[in-house]
């Protein structure tokens, strides 16, 4: 296998266009740079503005070469949608961490009756081939309670911040958030971030 450098973290963020995935990886990338790490990130959007699969590869460490995470290489899969999560099962490294927002956005083919959405059991089984560190998170529900599901990305970052071995300080997280978010929605987003952190507080893996 490819040797992995010290302290290297590969985080694959996946979901559906419009969920704020690229902004989330930008915010974490900027924060990691501010703490002195080498950072590379690349996004795959396909063609449409909204509604298609979106992936962001975020790589951090002492020295990062490739922009893409390789199959079997992701330390953490941060999935904003369940179907998109399981699409990337082969990218999780053995014993890696899978964080899934417990929310389904059925693609059009399901509405048209041409395909079937995978069951939670199938999703779980798929990941168990690689790891048993599978965390279902109520991100959409929690952010709806906070008033706007568009803060899902920031909630998920808060959750991730507690589980990632790269320990970015709260100060740097908030600095990065404030640099990338409009001032009028900053406070509520910081609440979403903290709510994410609280949701991860009891997790023990």
């Amino acid at each position: 296998m490819i040797k992995k450098g010290d302290n290297k973290q590969d985080i694959l963020l996946v979901g559906v266009g419009g969920q704020g995935i690229i902004l989330a990886s930008d915010i974490m990338g900027e924060a990691a740079l501010a703490m002195g790490l080498d950072v590379k990130k690349t996004d795959t959007l396909g063609m449409a503005q909204r509604g298609g699969s979106v992936t962001s590869h975020l790589r951090m460490g002492q020295a990062v070469y490739a922009p893409l995470i390789s199959p079997q290489g992701a330390d953490i899969l941060l999935a904003f949608e369940k179907l998109e999560a399981v699409r990337w099962v082969n990218y999780i490294r053995p014993d890696g961490i899978v964080i899934i927002n417990n929310h389904a956005i059925p693609p059009l083919s399901i509405s048209l009756g041409m395909s079937v959405y995978p069951t939670d059991e199938a999703i779980n089984k798929s990941f168990l081939q690689r790891t048993n560190k599978i965390l279902m998170v109520e991100g959409s529900r929690e952010t709806a309670q906070l008033g706007d599901v568009r803060m899902l990305n920031i909630f998920m970052l808060g959750y991730l911040s507690k589980l990632s071995p790269i320990k970015i300080t709260d100060y740097l997280w908030k600095k990065s958030l404030s640099e990338r978010l409009p001032a009028k929605i900053l406070d509520i987003n910081i609440r979403a971030f903290e709510r994410g952190q609280e949701a991860a507080a009891s997790v023990n893996i």
Binding site: G29, G46, A48, Y65, I69, L83, L108, M114, S126
Partner: protein, 603 residues
């Protein structure tokens, strides 16, 4: 110190590097993955930056600016260079005055293009030098060098990037002390250099060969071609993003890292391969380096093991090394996949898209849901032949709309429609093209249709922007790349001026009007143009009165699902509309087509 570390994309780094190198004129047509280069340059107020009508015009603007003595950047995607090939070859022949750097952004893996091509071949064909960075830092550092080479060797420089350099962000040490050189503009009359009559062009050609010979010497010693010492096997020769994958897969190898991809340095290559046991070329797409090195009589390997199509990644390069026997076979983790079949999630037209009603109408007029096989193939001729073009609206080919029969390249829909009609088919033929694409290269097709008395219908889907690449302005919007209000080209007047008699302009969200407009155009036995106009949904910020389904009235006929709107979903046998994505009053298409009148504003 005036240095600071920033996380920048390759495209942003090129723009900043060019700005600091003194670029005065920049021209481009949007195209993934190149678009952000010009977008970034346009923010510098002391540079002239334009969205050109198309890549050919961009190259010509660039060439003129270079002749006038200023440093100039022209950027485009890989297929854009096909469009610009004619002036590019001319630029290669005349040479330059102010430095001229041409960015070609290739798209391995075809993320957002009609095809995969390796534009490194253009450098050899045009006999121009080519540089290729491997990350943002190099993109930033190589650009000033590219301008210097251009001016010193009297040649345009091809600067090739690929998606994972253009669209990856990596750390750049920005040097704020780089001084922007002063503008030195003057055009010098020089017929032998600038007027390519055959007699003059003939004298230029030997100079092109001479400059490549000189550049070969430059390549021997330039610091962007360098050796990274390691173990004596394997020796890896690489350039572009392939270097990054190879470095990760084989961290202990010895590398010859080439920043200048054409021309290559023969002595350096000989010396490098002589000191390692086995030489392996790692490059994305074609064996461009491999074949160029083999021609020098140097034995190297590469594409026998490394995939030729699509993007590479570190694991693919590692696996190739194991297959080639340059890496000891170690325990390999077995690949896994989901335990169940996964539905795809193809890109879709957005909720509230102004193209939706037109495609819904084309689908129903052509009876395409009934007559066409789900597989996308059919032995029968369709009732209505729909030639398509490049833009968001190409997505009209997908289910459930299925309203497109062809897509080739920018502007091709109109010429293809003429050809299909002239071949003598019995069906009506309609070309579908967006506003930006029409202005890019649809106009000459219309001229052809008028001149040759074609009977086709041309549907111009006018959403007032270049949407697919991220909403750039174009000649029809009346706003320049730098945000200045200017004259807008009026598509209706333009096609009337060319000589089209039957021209209609229709509101894109009025389904009845779209249907009767297209139908009347198709029914007539003459050339017609139907402009379907409505604002792009993504630019539409006002959302009110989102629609909902009255479950008591809905009889589950599923007609609304045939719009292909992602806000309209069916779960557990019930249709509902997602309030977060519905555009409400800005659209209203589903409400108009519901046979049971079961859809209305949210109560």
């Amino acid at each position: 110190m005036t240095k600071s570390k920033k996380l920048l994309s390759g495209n942003e780094s090129i723009a900043l590097g060019a700005y600091q190198a003194g670029v005065q004129v920049a021209a481009a047509y949007p195209g993934t993955p190149s678009t952000e280069i010009l977008e970034t340059i346009a923010t510098y107020k002391d540079v002239y930056a334009e969205w050109s009508t198309n890549e050919k015009v961009a190259m010509e603007v660039g060439l003129g600016a270079s002749y006038a003595g200023v440093r100039t950047l022209v950027s485009m995607k890989h297929v854009g260079l096909n469009v610009a090939a004619d002036p590019f070859m001319a630029a290669a022949t005349t040479g330059v005055h102010g430095g001229l750097v041409v960015i070609s952004a290739d798209d391995p893996g075809i993320h957002s293009s009609q095809g995969e091509q390796d534009n490194r071949h253009f450098a050899r064909m045009a006999r121009v030098p080519m540089l290729e960075p491997t990350d943002s830092q190099e993109a930033y550092d190589f650009i000033p060098l590219a301008f210097e080479i251009s001016e010193k060797y009297d040649t345009p420089v091809l600067f090739r990037i690929t998606t994972r350099v253009a669209h990856s962000k990596s750390v750049v040490e920005v040097d704020e002390s780089r001084a922007r050189p002063p503008r030195d503009k003057h055009f010098q009359h020089n017929i032998e250099k600038y007027v390519m009559l055959p007699s003059n062009a003939r004298t230029r050609v030997p100079q092109m060969h001479k400059r490549i010979a000189e550049l070969m010497e430059f390549a021997e010693t330039t610091s962007i071609n360098r050796i990274i010492d390691g173990k004596d096997s394997p020796g890896i020769i690489t350039g572009g993003v392939g270097y990054q994958y190879a470095r990760e897969a084989f961290p202990d190898a010895t590398f010859l890292k080439l920043g200048m991809i054409y021309p290559l340095p023969p002595r350096l290559l000989h010396n490098f391969t002589a000191k390692v046991k086995r030489s392996f070329v790692v490059e994305e797409l074609d064996p461009f380096l491999e074949e160029s090195i083999k021609i020098l009589g140097i034995p190297v390997e590469g594409k026998a093991y490394i995939p030729r199509a699509g993007e590479l990644n570190s694991l693919a390069v590692y696996d190739a090394g194991v297959k080639a026997g340059i890496e000891a076979k170690t325990e390999r983790i077995t690949d896994v996949k989901a335990v169940t079949d996964l539905p795809g999630r193809p890109p879709l037209l957005c909720p509230g898209c102004p193209h939706s009603a037109a495609f819904f109408v084309l689908n129903t007029l052509g009876q395409r849901t009934k007559k066409l096989d789900v597989s996308g193939r059919s032995t029968n001729e369709t009732n209505l032949i729909i030639t398509g073009d490049i833009g968001c609206y190409t997505l009209g080919a997908y289910l459930p709309l299925r309203a497109m029969d062809t897509t080739a390249c920018m502007g091709a829909s109109i010429g293809q429609a003429i050809g299909i009609e002239k071949a003598g088919v019995s069906s009506k033929v309609i070309a579908v093209i967006g506003d930006s694409t029409f202005l890019h290269s649809g106009i000459t097709g219309i001229v052809d249709a008028v001149y040759n008395d074609s009977k086709i219908t041309v549907l111009v889907l006018d959403n007032g922007t270049t949407a697919m690449t991220g909403h750039q302005d174009h000649p029809g919007t009346g706003i320049t790349a730098q945000g200045i209000t200017t004259k807008a080209v009026d598509i209706e007047k333009l096609v009337r001026g060319i000589g089209v008699k039957d021209v209609q302009v229709i509101n894109a969200f009025d389904v009845k009007a779209v249907r009767s407009g297209i139908k009347s155009a198709l029914d007539k036995d003459e050339l017609s143009v139907v402009i379907v106009r409505g604002n792009c949904a993504v630019k539409n910020k006002r959302r009110k009165n989102q629609r909902q389904v009255n479950a008591g009235v809905c009889n589950n006929c599923d007609v609304c699902l045939r719009i292909g709107c992602s806000a309209i979903q069916k779960q557990d046998g019930k249709v509902h509309i997602d309030v977060y994505s519905c555009m409400g009053d800005e659209c209203g298409i589903c409400e108009q087509i519901c046979p049971k009148h079961a859809i209305g504003p949210l109560s």
